[in-house]
């Protein structure tokens, strides 16, 4: 990496005019050749040129004073039209393409001028500065100014909140300048919409939110999309703390499309490098993406990659380096350290397989630790333990002191996570073409020992103007991901946290277990603390390896030809390829549940290849007509081919331990494969009509023919229409309102993506097939699935409406963008359950209706905006509900979802409770309702994100809070902490008494004194005549704990899922242009970043952001880092 940087530094110095030395110099009608000689002498440089290029005797004038070489060459360049290129001490001379028209002398001239605002009112206090010289003035109360400059000087006229303007002074004729407020600029910002069509933001007619590439290149996350968390209203990203785990992404409650450079991509975001992203525009609504057909049913995340652009020199090199270190945890589960392993206060290890006393039991309900016993050598009670030496005479394990050896084995086991990303890019541009080449390496060292992830991306973009009418462009990125090992999150003995946090007693010091093989049985038998249930964590980390290797190519090429000024054609082909291999190496003696236990190890290999090719052609005609009308009409066609193949193979035991090859299988290798293909052909068109830049009307239509459905239902049409009205330009509004726009849209999208479960192949969902049954002793078999597929499946349909308003006040310093959307999902293909006695469990047919609706509010403000200090605030708020409108067959309740009620019902087991919410006990034991019951709703009530950016001169400080408020979560980790005996609140005198057989714990709640209750099949109370009194029946504490927490009664560990995170803090110092003058850099900034800095939540033991139920993920943690960004 270092050598590459040096190479670029050298290359760049060629392009840079050294500006260090100032010398007194002047010319008076000196011939050019003589002037060059004088410069050579004074600045110790050498010119090289071909004499035919220069007019050797051209007379040069320059007032005598102290000047740098650059200033002199600038002047020469201006008067001769020559271009100078310095290479070390050598300066080459070339003819410039465009020559200045007249000979200009360096006489001082005085210029008068006037500055007006857009309403032609004079502006006072406007700065007028001369470029590269320390001269300046301001306008008076009439907006007038006077300034004396040299001919050819450039003046800059600027005022806060307005676009600066530049003039080159050639004579002393007065100047009148109209400054446009930056508001105007805001509207002229172009955004990328469907099919990659660039559009002025003010002309858009639907909700969207944009994030600039610069906003995500400093505070890194391993996965690009995680950096968008909280930045876009209604884009929910559930950030996972586990290494290399995909975040869950939902836009308005649906799975959204990702488009890269106009082409619908198949990406999990691991292959996209933030340094290559120019901007991300989230098109939220269906109308915005109707042109993508089926794929656009839930909006789109539009990613535009960086293209070649350049500074004045035609080339720009950027280097960005980001390094982040773990700085503590957001949520680290703490466990008790008072009791050891065993059951009912008893434990004696013999073989970990039941030979001792409760040594196979797996609970941490053993004897109290650190109890003094004067009769033993250690002075503490001593017991045989997993690491006891064996007495050579008796063959029995020798008792060891029963003491706490570790306060937190989890903390001891984990190491500090580390992330580093280094990117270098070169971009260039001239009038014929542009290019950009970028190379990135990402490395993550995981918290879990022996886990890491490497990702290298090379991306290239280039454009070429072949003629004035014909332009071609292409982008391509190649990404390689490689992880030799990454951790598991599911609950079970293959999960590290299961073996450490939940079931390992504090008398075990995890560091004592680092030698994980039984001596003399290396590769054959692990050394662990319980051979019935648990793996040695080190053994898992270093021997059970989950490896992932992916090659991802994302590419597109397009060509545009302008037949006339108004008529053009665009053709584009994009291809994305993702070829990946995952292997799992399972060593001998691996412990797991049932058949996944692998006494003889295993080797699994899965190869997946994914291909998508999309080709579009689009003919566009633009026309202005009558007086105020503009129209753009496009028609085109598109074809998409998707292919997925998978090959799975796994051994059935390893003949030789430690050899991970399919050929080393004990029993026949098991192997399966999948091929999925789909083709969609389309015609599409859209029209944009605008009146006076005030009213915009968009209509679009697309028809798809999909291979995933059967004729004639495989052809379907998607119309959309949307309108935008800029009211602030149509009627006179109070001056406090600077902008007001209304928009509305409607779309009707169908989709062939029939998602009725992971076991149904979407591509062939309408085709009934037999599945493979169990292969018994080599005899194959077939199984008829329990779903009955309708022979007339229609595509799913979503009818969407969206209404919005955007308003800005006080010269755009305060703004609000409000959107309401309402989708009706109808004809959705569903699994409609039927009586199993009918022979099938479910019908697959077009059925239910669901209404999705919500609001999104984006609020922006600039409370402070002075020359030095700027403060920007942006607040996102959103709320989403999904309501069941109808079930197929007219059912009123299905899976506890009621017609008219929310669909995100959280199901589970619930306590019987009194009307005022107290738990009902029987015999001192809490009673549950013997049916799956509604516990609440999973999704949050609302979601918020708040970003603040404060800029003071060269310092920028920004921070972001975001959170999800409301919703319910089942905290399986806590339930398991109770079950294992590791929960801190199980340390109390009741536990000791329970060990001694004393039943003295009285649980909270009431007992029934008379009457009875009846619950229906859905757990709803039908009748209740019970009378209650406070529960006063003492029971064994551990019996009560087990009844409360280990029975899977979700109500016992039900929490509000609310959380708020201080997601990011970035402090950036940009080195000013003055300091940079002395360096080879054109721009440089350094930032200190903090990621996931604070977490506020009442949920214990887990981070509610990404997890629920029994996922045993890595503890979520905080990162701090440094980012260095240099431009040459």
């Amino acid at each position: 990496m270092k050598c590459i940087i040096i190479l670029f530094l050298t290359a760049l110095s060629l392009q840079t005019f050294a500006a260090e030395k100032s010398v007194v110099i002047g010319f008076a009608k000196t011939p050019l050749e003589q002037a060059l000689k004088k410069i050579e002498k004074l600045y110790e440089v050498k010119f090289t040129y071909s004499s035919q290029f220069i007019e050797a005797d051209k007379k040069i004038d320059l007032a005598t004073r102290e000047r740098t070489l650059a200033e002199v060459l600038d002047h020469l360049s201006a008067v001769t039209g020559l271009q100078f290129m310095q290479i070390g001490k050598l300066i080459g001379i070339q003819k410039m393409k465009v020559q200045h028209s007249s000979i200009i002398t360096a006489d001082p001239i005085t210029v008068r001028g006037k500055v007006l605002d857009k309403d032609n009112q004079p502006m006072s206090g406007v700065s007028i500065n001369v470029k590269n010289r320390n001269i300046g003035t301001t306008t008076n109360s009439n907006g007038d100014f006077t300034i004396t400059v040299e001919r050819g000087d450039q003046i800059v006229i600027s005022s806060v909140g307005h676009e600066p303007q530049e003039f080159t002074i050639t004579d002393n004729s007065p100047i009148t300048v109209t400054l446009q407020s930056t508001q105007q600029t805001l509207d002229e910002v172009f955004v990328t919409t469907a099919l990659g069509i660039k559009k002025e933001r003010r002309k858009t007619t639907y909700a969207m939110q944009e994030v600039k590439g610069a906003a995500i290149e400093k505070d890194r996350e391993p996965n690009l999309v995680r950096t968008l968390t909280g930045k876009i209203a209604r884009l929910r990203i559930q950030t996972k703390s586990n290494m290399y785990e995909n975040p869950e992404i939902k836009l308005r409650g649906g799975k959204t499309l990702v488009v890269i450079d106009g082409v619908p991509a198949q990406t999990d975001f691991w292959n996209i490098n933030p340094d290559d992203v120019d901007n991300i525009n989230v098109l939220k609504g269906t109308a915005a993406t109707a042109l993508y057909g089926s794929l656009g049913i839930n909006g789109a995340i539009m990613i535009t990659t960086k293209k070649g652009k350049a500074g004045a020199d035609g080339i720009e090199v950027t280097f960005n380096s980001s390094n982040q270190f773990q700085a503590g945890f957001l949520k680290l589960p703490e466990a008790q350290t008072t009791y050891g392993m065993g059951w009912n206060g008893q434990y004696a290890y013999k073989d970990g397989r039941g030979g001792g006393l409760y040594d196979d039991y797996g609970y941490v309900y053993g004897p109290k630790l650190n109890v003094p016993d004067p009769s033993t050598p250690s002075g503490f009670v001593e017991l045989p333990q997993y690491n006891s030496p064996i007495d050579p005479n008796t063959g029995e394990p020798v008792p060891l002191p029963w003491i706490t050896r570790s306060q937190s084995n989890l903390k001891k086991f984990l190491r500090n996570e580390f992330l580093t990303t280094n990117n270098i890019s070169v971009a260039g541009k001239n009038e014929r073409g542009d290019y950009r080449i970028s190379l990135t390496h990402f490395y993550q060292k995981g918290q879990v020992p022996n886990t890491q992830l490497n990702s290298t991306t090379v991306s290239m973009a280039g454009g070429l103007k072949i003629t004035d009418k014909f332009r071609i462009e292409a982008t391509m990125s190649y990404n390689k991901q490689f992880s030799p090992n990454y951790p598991e999150t599911g609950y079970g003995p293959d999960n590290l946290f299961y073996n450490i946090l939940l079931w390992m007693g504090p008398e075990v010091d995890i560091n004592d277990m680092r030698n994980y093989w039984v001596t003399g049985k290396e590769n054959i038998e692990q050394d662990t603390y319980n051979y019935t249930w648990y793996n040695n964590p080190w053994f898992l980390a270093y021997e059970r390896l989950r490896n992932y290797n992916a090659d991802v190519i994302q590419s597109q090429a397009n060509a545009t030809y302008d037949f006339t000024k108004d008529l053009s054609v665009m053709v584009r082909t994009g291809a994305s390829v993702n070829n990946n291999t995952r292997t799992i190496k399972t060593p001998w003696s691996f412990i797991n549940y049932g058949n996944s236990r692998a006494p003889f190890g295993n080797f699994d290999e899965r190869k997946r290849n994914q291909l998508r090719v999309v080709t579009d052609a689009l003919l566009t005609y633009k026309k202005s007509f009558f007086k105020d009308f503009n129209a753009v009409v496009s028609v085109g066609g598109s074809t998409r081919f998707d292919q997925f193949t998978e090959l799975n193979a796994n051994t059935n035991g390893l003949a030789v331990p430690g050899v991970y090859n399919l050929g080393n299988s004990i029993n026949p290798v098991q192997s399966t494969n999948i091929l999925l293909e789909k083709q969609v052909n389309s015609v599409l068109g859209y029209a944009e009509l605008s009146w006076k830049n005030q009213i915009f009307l968009n209509v679009s239509g697309r028809n798809d023919w999909s291979s995933a459905l059967q004729k004639p239902n495989n052809s379907f049409f998607y119309p959309s229409a949307s309108v935008g009205i800029i009211a602030s330009e149509m009627v006179k509004l109070p001056s406090v309102i600077s902008f007001l726009k209304f928009r509305g849209s409607w779309a009707n999208i169908s989709t062939d993506i029939i998602d009725v479960g992971p076991d149904v192949q979407q591509e062939y969902a309408t085709l009934p097939v037999y599945l493979n049954g169990t292969r018994w002793n080599g005899q194959s078999s077939l199984n008829l699935p329990n779903r009955l597929i309708s022979s007339n499946i229609l595509p799913n349909k979503t009818i969407s409406q969206e209404y919005g308003a955007e308003i800005r006040f006080l010269n755009n310093r305060i703004g609000a963008d409000f959107t309401y959307y309402n989708y009706l999902d109808r004809d959705f293909v569903v699994r409609a359950p039927i009586s199993e006695a009918s022979g099938f469990g479910e019908l697959i047919l077009n059925g239910d209706r669901v209404n999705r609706r919500g609001i999104e509010l984006v609020f922006t403000a600039n409370p402070v905006r002075t020359k030095d200090l700027k403060w920007d605030v942006a607040l996102n708020y959103s709320r989403h509900r999904s309501i069941q409108k109808e079930f197929y067959g007219g059912d009123s309740i299905r899976n506890l979802v009621q017609v008219g009620g929310r669909t995100d019902v959280l199901r589970g087991w619930k306590w019987q409770r009194t009307p005022d919410g107290q738990i009902i006990n029987d015999g001192g034991i809490p009673q549950y309702i013997n049916a799956q019951t509604m516990l609440g709703f999973e999704n949050p009530d609302y979601e918020v994100g708040l970003t603040n950016t404060i800029t003071y001169r060269n310092l920028t400080f920004s921070f972001q809070f975001d959170g999800r408020i409301g919703g319910k979560l089942i905290n399986g980790v806590e339930a398991k902490m109770y079950e294992g005996g590791m929960h801190e609140s199980t340390v109390n005198s009741f536990r000791d008494d329970a060990y001694n057989g004393i039943d003295n714990f009285v649980g909270p709640g009431v007992k029934v004194v008379s009457g009875e209750a009846e619950y229906d099949a859905f757990g709803r109370l039908v009748s209740d005549t019970r009378k209650f009194e406070k529960n006063d029946i003492p029971v064994n504490y551990i019996t009560w704990l087990f009844a409360s927490y280990t029975n899977g009664i979700d109500d016992a560990v039900l929490y509000k899922r609310t959380f708020v995170k201080l997601r990011e803090v970035v402090l950036t110092y940009s080195i000013g242009p003055r300091l940079l003058m002395k360096t080879p850099f054109k721009g440089a900034n350094i930032s200190v970043v903090g990621r996931n800095v604070l977490l506020f939540t009442k949920v214990p033991y887990m981070d509610p952001d990404g997890y629920n139920y029994y996922s045993l993920a890595e503890p979520s943690y905080r990162n701090i880092g440094v980012n260095l960004n240099l431009k040459f």
Binding site: I591, T615, Q679, Q761, I1038
Partner: protein, 482 residues
């Protein structure tokens, strides 16, 4: 030239655009799975599913062969709620096989379809009571809300189907392909059909008088004509699944189970029955208590499943666990669905009840011998066992002896039959106590699945009203037990 490039580009794109297109019909075939099946491929699957349907630990807990002492367990504490309609899943395959085999040369598959129907409808009705039978499996014909048949008519229908199956099974035809149980031996299937029919008839012992069924006469007619109704002759004829190591799902179901060795023990009542009779099968199915010598009756003990969790836990260190081979040998022993031993006990019971004439003691001894042979116990040990006073056949308490021996022989096989037979006869008495929920009662049935209340509400409610006065509860007594 410039226009030439443009033309070339458009041409290239056009070619790639069209060459990528395959005909729509190409995609109307799922390349991953077949859309047609043969009866033999369906049969293999039906047999695997039928023979592996019951996880053997569940009935062994409910029937008090074993107990699970780690935590509350519905089969130990008798507080289960709903049962499963999963038999209908298998019946769907059966119906499809029958349809695929409608041509005459495949009559044996059609006969096996009848046997499988009979088998699963009996499982269902013994679990719940009334169930959909005559209107079941009609989703393809548009009936997704089948009505429930009364138990008596289900029994009558099943017995008819078994009669038909016996008539249809034709040993002169080619061996049945896909038969993973008897390797295509039609005669063995015929024997199983008739043995199973005896079981169904014995289940009706409290309903001897049913005029629609004529229990006695049917039993008599089967025993009277061995040529027409062949029966099993030895354990070689057992309908059983032999496990193997060719794939993980071909292993014995308890293989590598972590809980069985550490959290489950033999039940005290069962161990006592075996110890009282000096039963050598105890050494084949149980490990001695930790650190005690093997093969000595005093080394074995059990945990009382009626105790509280705490009591059971306390007792567990001095109790026998199940023999290690059940969880560390992937092949272990075959899973008997119905076998020769049971058949002999069924005949013995019929004789004892006076339904048929014959030598009950011989059939009784055959049953015990067959069960012991299954475990490889020597003839000498068997003879010694048969001679014991509390084992030897005694007409005075014949039913008790027969049922108790059948109960022992059902250890870890024959699905829910040990529980169903205890329920019918009350033998042996199952332990209940402070750990037992359900008001201290042993449940008599299962509640209908929650899904029936969602998708077939009217029919299930009618059935519940008809049988149990509107209360779908686990203590309701079904027709066959009244």
């Amino acid at each position: 030239m410039k226009l030439g490039i443009y033309k070339l580009f458009v041409l290239t794109v056009a070619i790639s655009l069209f060459s990528a297109c395959k005909k729509h019909e190409y995609y109307q075939r799922n390349p991953n799975n077949p859309s047609v099946a043969t009866p033999s491929l369906l049969l293999s699957n039906i047999l695997v599913q039928t023979f592996t349907q019951v996880y053997p630990l569940d009935p062994s807990l409910a029937a008090r062969h074993m107990t699970y002492f780690e935590r509350p367990n519905v089969f130990v504490n008798y507080n289960w709620s709903t049962g499963s309609f999963s038999s209908y899943d298998i019946l769907r395959q059966v119906r499809d096989m029958e349809k695929n085999a409608e041509d005459a040369p495949l009559v044996n598959y059609r006969a096996l379809a009848k046997l499988m129907r009979a088998w699963h409808f009996i499982q269902l009705t013994e679990t719940f009571g009334d169930i959909p039978y005559s209107q079941a499996l009609q989703a393809l014909d548009g009936n997704t809300e089948p009505s429930y048949d009364e138990q008596e008519s289900i029994y009558a229908g099943v017995l008819n189907e078994l009669e038909e199956a016996n008539t249809m099974l034709d040993p002169s035809l080619a061996p049945i392909l896909g038969d993973i149980i008897y390797n295509g031996d039609v005669m063995k299937w015929k024997k199983m059909v008739n043995t199973f029919r005896l079981r169904v008839l014995i289940h009706l012992s409290r309903r001897e008088g049913s005029t629609s069924i004529n229990v006695r006469e049917q039993f008599q007619s089967i025993l009277a004509d061995p040529g027409k109704y062949p029966l099993m002759e030895s354990i070689e004829d057992n309908a059983q699944l032999v496990y193997n190591t060719s794939a993980v799902d071909n292993y014995y179901p308890l293989y590598q189970n972590n809980s069985i060795p550490s959290l489950a023990a033999l039940e005290k009542g069962f161990v006592t029955i075996l110890k009282d009779r000096q039963d050598p099968r105890l050494f084949e199915i149980a490990e001695p208590v930790t650190n005690m010598p093997e093969g000595v009756f005093s080394s074995y003990d059990g945990v009382d499943a009626g105790g509280t969790i705490a009591e059971q836990n306390d007792a567990s260190p001095s109790a026998s666990k199940i023999k290690n081979r059940y969880f560390d040998d992937p092949v272990n022993e075959p899973m008997i669905l119905i076998g020769y031993a049971e058949q002999e006990f069924l005949i013995a019971e019929a004789i004892a009840r006076g339904w048929v004439t014959g030598d009950a003691a011989t059939h009784y001894n055959n049953g015990i011998t067959a069960s012991m042979q299954f475990y490889g116990i020597s003839q000498g040990d068997i003879d010694a066992y048969l001679a014991q006073p509390n084992v030897a056949y005694n007409a005075g308490n014949a039913i008790e002896l027969i049922i108790l021996q059948k109960y022992i022989s059902f250890f870890m096989n024959s699905g829910w039959e040990p529980f169903f037979e205890q329920r019918r006869t009350g033998i042996p008495v199952l332990s209940t106590g402070p750990g037992t929920d359900n008001g201290g009662l042993v449940p008599q049935r299962w509640q209908y699945p929650q899904s029936e209340y969602s998708y077939n509400e009217a029919n299930v409610s009618t059935a519940v009203q008809r049988q149990f006065g509107g209360s779908d509860n686990i203590n309701g007594v079904m027709w066959v037990l009244e």
